[in-house]
């Protein structure tokens, strides 16, 4: 199982029956593949739809039916479409139960940076700032470290996406929760030692006596 699959299957356990959820582009999109059978979750795409499903078979695509990454999707029973102002009223207005987003950095206060690298990559924030500011729960789904070193750092060196503290960080090594007292290590991935997590984390972690092994959703 690769890192992305571990992360997606752990994040899927954060889903609850009846939730409205927005998944970011890339790794977070994989979470939709592991929704536990016993619950029903509605997915929103910020370009204007709730209740979409997997890409349709070839030859059944509708050019008016795409997700926020521009890929073709399908509608599930109960689906609804709306304009961008309505879509962001849902996001900003406290109607979105959870968002799952990728991250470039998270710091010891739980602030996320995920929209630009000055001088290198300026794609624009798209809907990320509204999602992080407005969703009831913000889950960061990202690999624990990048080529340049740890992605969980004491203080952001990249511009923040919001001043809001994210709810949970899920990586292929650990589940970490930002709290008033800093970052708390909640779970470790199967076969991963606490010392390895500490070594690959650039911020101080508070570590309870017992750090349980993370469960993951069924494939």
């Amino acid at each position: 199982m690769d890192a992305k699959e571990i992360i997606a299957r752990r994040v899927a356990l954060e889903l609850r029956d009846g939730m409205l959820v927005n998944l970011g582009i890339g790794l977070p999109t994989l979470v939709a593949n592991y929704v536990p059978d016993e619950i029903h979750v509605a997915f929103q795409s910020e370009n204007g739809i709730i209740g979409f499903g997997a890409p349709p078979p070839e030859g059944m695509e509708d050019p008016h039916l795409t997700d926020a990454g521009g890929g073709f999707i399908s509608t599930l029973p109960g689906a609804m479409a709306f304009d961008s102002a309505t879509s962001f009223a849902l996001i900003r207005g406290g109607h979105l139960d959870m968002t799952v987003l990728g991250g470039l950095q998270v710091d010891s206060t739980g602030r996320l940076a995920n929209w630009m690298v000055p001088g290198k990559m300026v794609p624009g924030m798209g809907g990320a700032m509204d999602l992080v500011t407005g969703a009831k729960r913000v889950i960061v789904a990202m690999q624990h470290s990048a080529k340049g070193g740890p992605k969980i750092v004491e203080a952001l060196t990249l511009p923040p996406t919001s001043e809001r503290r994210v709810s949970l960080i899920v990586t292929e090594l650990a589940v970490i929760e930002p709290t008033d007292q800093g970052l708390a290590l909640r779970e470790r991935a199967p076969g991963v030692a606490v010392e390895d997590i500490v070594a690959m984390t650039g911020a101080k972690l508070s570590i309870p006596a017992d750090v349980p092994e993370m469960a993951i959703a069924a494939a």
């Binding site: 795409s45 910020e46 370009n47 204007g48 739809i49 509708d62 050019p63 008016h64 039916l65 795409t66 997700d67 926020a68 990454g69 521009g70 509608t75 479409a81 709306f82 304009d83 961008s84 102002a85 879509s87 962001f88 996001i91 900003r92 990559m121 300026v122 794609p123 624009g124 924030m125 798209g126 809907g127 990320a128 700032m129 509204d130 500011t133 407005g134 511009p159 923040p160 996406t161 919001s162 001043e163």
Partner: protein, 217 residues
């Protein structure tokens, strides 16, 4: 009653240097024939306002490729390397606006509001130069209204009163932009007789629409 004009006639209405809102999300719900006509006319110096700049050769990306654009106001340019290259080269000025803020600034511009207060962007680079206003203990950014000389919209159906419908995710920014420009030009997939669109199904009231672009043939 609106009589349909051609895309080329519509493009002739839009002078060089105009500000132009355009519907679409990664070119879904974008007025492709109006973009083609602007390229064919050789439009220059446009300020374009929309969610993104699609991809090279696709949607509004065609205006970027052809050098029609001086300034972009958008939430995302990451799918179009040409926009990024021209921004770095200083050929295009780019203002990045959070997507929800962009929608609300346009809505404010069309709804007669003096601005919107949003928590989005507080404590980020988006807040630079903007007023932060405390309302009941929560900080909000004052974001000012956005309007344009023209709005170029894509609809599914239009009737000759200009009443519009949209399909699925092709609505996106089109409905708010219909309120926020001095001249609203619509490229519908179909023009239908008045009465075919039931009143409850009208998403954009025809009173907002100034010009209809006719069928491709």
């Amino acid at each position: 009653m609106l009589t349909a004009i051609s895309a080329a006639e519509a493009a002739d209405l839009i002078p060089d240097g105009a500000s132009v809102m355009f519907g679409g999300f990664l070119a879904v719900g974008s007025p492709e024939r109006l973009f083609d006509a602007l390229v064919a006319r050789g439009a220059k110096g446009l300020t374009i306002i929309g969610n993104d700049t699609a991809r090279p050769g696709v949607g509004v990306g065609k205006l970027i490729d052809a050098g029609c654009v001086a300034r972009v106001i958008a939430s995302h340019i990451g799918t179009n390397p040409t926009t990024q290259q021209k921004m770095i080269a200083g050929e295009i000025e780019v203002d990045l606006v959070p997507q929800g803020t962009l929608a609300e600034r346009i809505r404010a511009g069309g709804a007669g509001l003096g601005g919107v207060l949003t928590p989005t962007g507080v404590g980020t680079t988006v807040a630079e130069g903007k007023r932060v206003i405390d309302v009941n203990g929560v900080n909000y950014l004052l974001e000012i209204p956005l309007r344009a000389d023209f709005a170029l919209l894509r609809a599914h159906e239009a009737d000759h009163f200009g009443n519009l419908t949209y399909r699925l995710t092709a609505a996106n920014f089109n409905p708010v932009m219909a309120f926020a420009a001095d001249c609203v030009i619509v490229e519908p997939d179909h023009i239908v007789p008045v009465g075919v669109i039931p009143p409850d199904a009208v998403r954009t009231p025809g009173v907002l629409v100034d010009r209809l672009v006719g069928r491709a043939c």
